[in-house]
Amino acid sequence: MAGAVVIPEGRFARSGPGRDWALRYGMRLAVLAAALALWQALSEAGLIRGDEFPSMTATVSALGRQAASASLWAAVRDTLAGWAIGLAIGGGCAIVIGSLAGLSGFAYRSVIGVVEFFKTIPVIAILPIALVLWGATLTMKVALVAFAVFWPLVIQVCYGVRSLDPIARDTARALRVRGAREFLMVVLPSAAPFIATGLRVSVAVALIVDIVAELIGGGSGIGAQILLAENSGPSAYPVMYAYILVAGLLGVLLAGVFTLVEGRVMHWHESYRMAAGHAG
């Protein structure tokens, strides 16, 4: 079971001194530009047919047109709503229930089997049930996102709480730090890197599930726009891939924001401090 746990690692491991900053970001941009250029070259060489997969320039110009219209921003807003509410509910429940289950060995052993079982259920399999219960609505999206996020995260929280260093625990007890105070000041901080890592994975999972729910189940958002463009035929493929690009960019953006917040919130933890320290 320990195999299913992600080990928190420092987020700020840097390979070189600060002056390499420009070089590193320059390289990233260069790789991105090379990928886009390769895409365009393949289209122009005729290796990818335009009516099956649009060229980079056609897709990017479709993206530009969509960005100028209200529909793209409405879609992004609706997708983000499902993502944020689902993540908050699923994540919140996972932290509370995971902590409770992690604190008691008996509770942990009782629930872990069920949790492992539910964790492996593909969300797509319960989508029809969610549709029957809530229709193609925000509620349906939120429920699926919360479900998808909850199970992996609850295990992560359990392990985090259970991984409390015995010395820290004994020290706290020797200092008569107990009960709620012990939980908030000793257990939770110790579990925090595990929770942070679990949340980082959840940020991406929630976005994927949200968009898939829109695409297959219905409900407004980026997924619905992909469906509309797909059903409109080959002439609308640039629009379809433009929305797929938007989904990807949104994923990168949300992961970036999370990493930033994580660094701010977790700066005190030694796994983060250590990594930052190596950077010199």
């Binding site: 299913a4 080990i7 797509i124 809530w134 229709g135 890197p193 999972v205 407004s220 409109s232």
Partner: protein, 363 residues
């Protein structure tokens, strides 16, 4: 304090990354799920004494039959976006729904099964359905009823139809007889299109089971045909133009051959909604019939709605073929015919009468 982290290092994070999107849903199973859930919901409602039941979106039900009588009823409609929705889009954009006292919210969905599931939840009152899904639900005891056509019945000539069985270039297939042992792409198994191929195969004197039906979305069919992954496909406009450009050969228009002037799709409601809100349903039917008649007379105006509702340019919207004979009379004989084929090929076990699947005022 870092010992505990060190101890478990080496287990990759990838095990924890579960997108939850693997596999595709079995919509056949989903129809079953809808049936079970509706039965369950009915049971729960019955146990709960029926308090606060009824769709939340419908205000002042039953009073909107008279056009422009002042009251407006809010309804939500689930639809599958494609070009045959032109008359439906016109009913919205041209203000016909509004004139009949209906304020309609449109929800785009990927398949009729997703639409019906949303109707079962009560969040949608009207929805797009194909006749096989309509029959399947009714045969499982879920009462859903056709209220109106989407844009009229199936045409009786190939020129007005856009669903074609094509053979791949170089496949050697020249007639339906040659499909034995070949792979045929279908948008969904147990759909009208796949049923039609089975019926046609049997009529041509070959074993329907010898035709390998493969589920595949329309956009992927031209490439699959060109690469030889399938030797034939039932494909629709606008994707068919790509396939034909690559040398695919049209064999037959299955729906024209089997169900001319038939009702192969419709806009439907749950039976329980129809009996509780007969006035709204009547208003909806009147609005759709008016819009279809107007669209027939003003086709370029109807097609123009496709530009804003689908991702098409105005020119592309005008180039679409609307697959219809513009006849708004729902055809029970064609429903009975399709039902008979579904029974024959083992898709359903009971055959409820076609008349029970078409809404009539006062039923």
């Amino acid at each position: 304090m870092s010992t505990h982290t060190q101890r478990r290092r080496g287990h990759g994070p990838s095990e924890h990354v579960r997108s939850g999107q693997r596999g595709t849903p079995s919509w056949r199973a989903a129809v079953g799920a809808v049936a079970v859930a509706v039965a369950l919901a009915a049971l729960l409602t019955a146990c709960g004494g029926g308090s606060s039941s009824g769709p939340p979106a419908a205000s002042s039900p039953g009073s909107a039959a008279g056009g422009g009588s002042g009251t407006v009823t809010n309804i939500t409609l689930g639809y599958v976006p494609y070009s045959d929705d032109a008359a439906l889009f016109y009913a919205q954009d041209g203000g016909i729904f509004r004139q009949h006292g209906l304020n309609v919210t449109f929800v785009a969905q990927a398949s009729p099964v997703a639409v019906e599931a949303s109707m079962a939840s009560g969040t949608e009152q009207f929805g797009f359905v194909t006749t096989p899904v309509l029959i399947n639900l009714n045969s499982k005891g879920v009462q859903v009823k056709c209220v109106s056509s989407v844009d009229g019945n199936e045409p009786s000539s190939d020129a007005n139809d856009s669903t074609v069985l094509v053979a791949a270039k170089g496949s050697g297939i020249t007639s339906i007889k040659d499909l034995a042992g070949k792979n045929v792409a279908e948008v969904q198994l147990t759909s009208l299109n796949s049923l039609a191929v089975e019926v046609l195969a049997k009529r041509a004197g070959i074993d329907p089971a010898s035709v390998h039906l493969i589920a595949m979305p329309f956009p992927q069919m031209p490439a699959a045909l060109a690469q030889g992954r399938v030797q034939a496909a039932v494909i629709v406009a606008p994707f068919i133009s790509t396939a034909l450009a690559e040398g695919a050969v049209p064999l037959i228009h299955p729906n024209v051959a089997l169900f001319p002037n038939g009702t192969v799709t419709c806009l439907d409601v749950m039976g329980s909604y129809a009996s509780a809100h007969a006035g709204v349903v009547a208003a909806f039917r009147a609005a759709m019939n008016e819009s279809i008649a107007y669209s027939q007379a003003h086709q370029s105006q109807a097609k123009a709605t496709l530009a804003s509702h689908l991702s098409l340019s105005p020119a592309q919207a005008q180039a679409q073929i609307l697959s219809t004979n513009w006849d708004t009379t729902l055809n029970p004989d064609s429903i009975t015919l399709i039902e008979g084929y579904m029974k024959e090929f083992g898709l359903i076990t009971s055959e409820p009468p076609a008349a029970s699947m078409i809404w009539t005022p006062g039923s």
